[in-house]
Amino acid sequence: MKREIFESDIGESYVKAVHSSGLQIYILEKAQYNSAYAIFGTKYGSIDTCFSVDGNETKVPEGIAHFLEHKLFESEDGDAFTKYAKTGAYANAFTSFDKTCYLFSCSDKFYENLDILLDFVQSPYFTQATVEKEQGIIGQEIRMYDDSPGWRVMFNMLLNMYKNHPVRIDIAGTIDSIAQIDADLLYKCYNTFYNPSNMFLCIAGNVDTDRILKQVKESVKQSEPVEIIRINEPEPDEVLNPYVEQSLAVAQPLFCFGYKEAMEKPNRSVKERIRTAILMEIIAGEASPLYKRLVDEGLINDEFSSEYFTGNGYSAVIFEGESRDPQRVAEEIKKEVDRIKIEGIDKKLFSAIRCGMYGNAIRMFDSVEGIAMQFVDCAMQGSSLFDEIKYLKSVTADDVFKRIALLDNNKTVLSVIKPIDSQE
């Protein structure tokens, strides 16, 4: 198996290997640790609703990637949870916009657990009866999110930011859309996206690299790589609606305020992501003048946070939190963006934020879960685990300043969840 070793001066190194099937494998050994964390995933998420293989175009119901994730735990010889129960591992899975990941963590019997993981993800078993049972469970999951203001405020924003891109739809789909799912459709999606050439295996902890690679060689099925073409309608640079609100049982309004960035190419590089992350801290991070002003004026509390939300074909700078006056918060953020565009970046603040992010990047290496999750990003973006630490040493305030041009005050969406009483 082709292997590459990556080293850094923080006392960590890892191996990246590529299996003949195209499966990418990332392993970081932590001999001093008791536990290990493993993720087997595919580049397949809620946004992959329309695709073509060998010229055959397929459109599938919303929420099918997530549905498939639930169903994959069942195999012909029992479900994966039962197998993990025999080893004591903690197992779970999640589906996001652009990926589906199956994971376990354990402090014992790692290789048995890895066998279970590799086996069940490669052994689909769907029947009409099991599909119907899952519709009840996922139906309740969807209802749970319908009542979650934090979830709704974000999805309402995406729904009004994007006109065509499927990032606008809920990851779990709707009660109606999941009713259209059947076993045949699940097999079709599985056979397309769960091809090893579209997948990755990410491991960190008390493990032995050679043993893992041997095990992978023995259990990963050989199959011809597939070329998947993801079909998306072109997305305009403009937002669909600048404002959206909904009433739910909350005490004070929640908001999510996002800038839609124009996409000149499908994906953002690691450097672009880091520059944007620094920029967001400069605009509204906890050490920024705007944050102080918003807290002093009673407009935000500790729930305030920001996120660079980006993936294949979408990119948004998002600020969210609770506020008695979300409109004011959004206006203040816009004003601050304008001010920085004119006055430039405060060099002292930039240097403190860069220093803080450097420390956080090092801190991440204390967590095997954190490392495995970062490996997933590496697989998705084609980057290296040490890129961030390296780039944080050289990035300049000017590099960061150039990113602010992407924030256009005319391409924003403010999503608000209002308390029910204030409307009635």
Binding site: K86, C106, S107, K133, G136, E141, G359, I362
Partner: protein, 425 residues
């Protein structure tokens, strides 16, 4: 990994967990005070106001700037319930000096900062300043009101309030909005003094070494304070059982209902004698192998989640689930039916063994997380000896089926709380 306790003052201990596996060092100050309606809000506000500013860092923005310069040092505050006690926690964690590009020691600077925040708050004439007090009061009130947003948490909190009405454990962990509104700069200053003088205190260091002179400097700070009337926080009252379980229902604008159930247990206490309750609760409603997951969720398809957890020091088991109104009765009946099955010992060897393995596997992972280790030792003050997570994992392995059945037999339904959609939804 090894642990060491040092005495810092009357009722104050330094606790060092020596471990070389991390690139960071974590230091936490833990204050244990009696949980009471009259004092809960003031005490709960303290960790937050103290970690927002001090004499040396009069403005929170400056403090955040300094934390960034300290390579993203993390400063955290919390106020939680610990049985019938209130646990106030203030933590700093910082990357180890070898990763710093500066000459000064980061850890020494971080320790100095934490001590100044706790012992030298920004006060004048025996009162906290209005600007700081008003900011933190507003945030505390918004936090209390915000609990309603996450219905699962809200419903669980309501269950506890109803179940322990009039008892210490029923007091909301940060008090009520009215309690917070009453706080003044002077009253908070007095609460701060009382915290320093009367709380049981544990200072944890998790890392490769204790910063030079750190414990000594804390001792010195306490030497000028008269530490008296320190309560023994090892004991919490067990949950009273009842022959007439109560049901409380509330309606709200929600789509999915929440069903929460509270049970009393005859086995209680945060020590080795109650480990059987831990295993019993896990078989009942812990992992995917548990009775509740495999029956209420998987077989009956009634919900996305239905799980049980135990608060051992109170002898309390809670079950919570998200269900449709029309399925609420059915789910409740099945949850009670599953409890009966555990009581009769009709759970399988597979379920029993899976539970032991899962608990042990998880305990043996604790050593890989500073945060988990800090919490573990913070909550282990009840034990006379020092037990690491791995020590307890060893003891869990000794629990038998009979222990589990015996623990289950002492479990009785106490309160059912239902959060239901308004009619017509």
């Amino acid at each position: 990994m090894s642990e060491k306790i040092v005495n810092l003052a009357e009722g104050a201990q330094g606790f060092f967990v020596k471990t070389n596996r991390f690139k960071t060092t974590l230091i936490s100050f833990n204050f244990y005070l009696p949980l009471a309606k009259e004092t809960v809000a003031e005490y709960a506000l303290l960790p937050f106001i103290l970690t927002s500013c001090s004499k040396k860092y009069p403005d929170f923005s400056l403090l955040n700037y300094k934390l960034s310069k300290l390579y993203g040092a993390r400063l955290d505050a919390s106020a939680e319930k610990y049985g019938d006690w209130q646990l106030l926690k203030m933590t700093v964690s910082v990357i180890n000096d070898r990763y710093s590009l500066d000459e000064d020691s980061l850890i020494i600077r971080a320790c100095d900062m934490l001590l100044r925040l706790i012992f030298e708050p920004n006060t004048e004439n025996g009162a906290f300043l209005d600007k700081d007090l008003n900011r933190e009061k507003r945030k505390a009130i918004e936090h209390i009101l915000g609990d309603i947003s996450e219905k699962r948490i809200y419903a669980k909190n309501r269950l506890i309030e109803e179940m322990y009405n009039g008892e210490a454990y029923g007091v909301p962990k940060c008090g009520t909005v009215e309690d917070v509104e009453k706080i003044t700069g002077e009253s908070l200053y007095k609460a701060w003094e009382k915290m320093l003088k009367t709380a049981f205190i544990r200072v944890n260091v998790v890392g490769s070494s204790v910063p030079a002179g750190f414990f000594e400097s804390i001792s010195e700070k306490f030497s000028s304070l008269e530490r008296t009337n320190i309560k023994d926080c090892k004991i919490s009252a067990p949950t009273k059982d009842t022959d007439c379980p109560q049901t409380v229902s509330e309606r709200m604008e929600v789509k999915q209902g929440k069903l929460c159930m509270g049970f009393s247990s005859e086995v209680y206490g945060n020590d080795d004698n109650s480990l059987s309750l831990l295993v019993m609760t896990d078989i009942f409603g812990g992992g995917p192998y548990s009775r509740l997951f495999s029956n209420v969720r998987e077989k009956m398809s009634l919900c996305y989640y239905c799980s049980a957890s135990a608060i051992r020091q109170k002898g309390l088991i809670t079950v919570d689930s998200g269900v449709e109104t029309e399925n609420c009765e059915k789910a409740q009946k099945e949850i009670l039916n599953q409890l009966e099955i555990v009581k009769k010992g009709e759970f399988s060897d597979f379920e029993f063994e899976s539970s032991i393995k899962s608990i042990c596997d998880s305990l043996n992972s604790y050593n890989d997380s500073q945060g988990l280790l800090d919490n573990w030792y913070t909550l282990k003050i009840n034990n006379d000896g020092i037990y690491s997570p791995s020590d307890i994992a060893q003891r869990v392995k000794d629990i038998t089926r009979e222990d589990v059945i015996s623990a289950a037999k002492g479990v009785k339904l106490h309160t059912v709380y239902k959060l239901l959609p308004k009619e017509g939804n």
